[in-house]
Amino acid sequence: MPIIDRFMRLVGNDYFMLVGMALVVFLLWFSGRDPQHRERNQRAVWCALIGVGLACAIVAICNAFYDRPRPFDRYEVELLFYRPTDPSFPSNTAATAFAFASGIWLGNRTVGWLLLLPAFLAGFDRVFIGVHYPFDILGGALVGISASLGALLVLRIFEPFPTWVLKTMRKLYLA
């Protein structure tokens, strides 16, 4: 159906879903019932951002060692998108979306669950528009979740540096 195809093209776009999720994360930075709750949210934002960075690095390393062709290279598919030239496995979009969602989930369950919905939709969408296999999405999701757990570990290892950064930002009225 053309309307579903158009919707899926929009959702699968390089910018639409990830910018939407990033705006929710930006909103979360300033949100919280009280200063303690806000600080928890801000730590979750740190975790998500570091997680996204780690996820992109893991995807780049995987791509350097394993070049899986895209579905449209092997099969006749009705492609709804442009032809990406990077390897298919793991999905970079899924890795980023799941790193965002799971990083936030570690600090704020409600918003984390909320962000997991667009992450799942973005993953499904990339298969629907013909640029990934389902296993690429699964791999990307695992990379994203592992990266956010790694980010949590990084934040704990580098403590009290994150606390000092947050305190300084609070003094400058940025947090």
């Binding site: 639409f16 910018v19 990033a22 930006f26 909103l27 300033f30 992109c56």
Partner: protein
């Protein structure tokens, strides 16, 4: 590529301005708000975010290879920082008499975003440096 980068930057900048007005309206941060009434802040937020997305996705074909992941990330950070600086500057000018109407500082209050309920960002920063200067002259 450069045009796409500039347009993407403005998508982020305008959307983040909308988010900041939503935050200012929701948390009653009068020092960060462009509007005296919360409803105007919410309306601005919806129009800014929806308008920026519509403009970005309708104005050109976005289903083409474009920015790299690292460029997208860097432009998001730049756009969100620019939106905060813009919002803080404009709201500080609009609400420059806010502190006079809200009374004096509470020295026991912790600094942070909540201080922007009763003073503008520039007033808050000026107060911070005044206090810091006072601490250094009276150790």
């Amino acid at each position: 590529m450069t045009q796409l980068a500039v347009e993407y930057f403005f998508l982020i900048f305008i959307s983040c301005c909308g988010v900041l007005q939503f935050v200012a309206a929701r948390r009653k941060l009068r020092g960060l708000s462009f509007f005296p009434r919360a409803i105007s802040g919410y309306l601005f937020a919806v129009l800014a975010i929806a308008g920026a997305f519509c403009w970005f996705f309708i104005s050109d074909n976005r289903h083409v290879p474009g920015l790299e992941g690292s460029e997208v990330f860097a432009l998001f950070i730049a756009g969100s920082l620019a939106s905060f600086i813009f919002t803080a500057s404009i709201s500080s000018v609009i609400n420059r008499k806010l502190r006079l109407s809200m009374g004096q500082d509470n020295p026991s209050e912790e600094p942070g975003l909540d201080s922007l309920k009763r003073m503008t960002y520039f007033q808050a920063i000026a107060g911070y440096f005044r206090r810091k200067g006072g601490e250094q002259s009276n150790p």
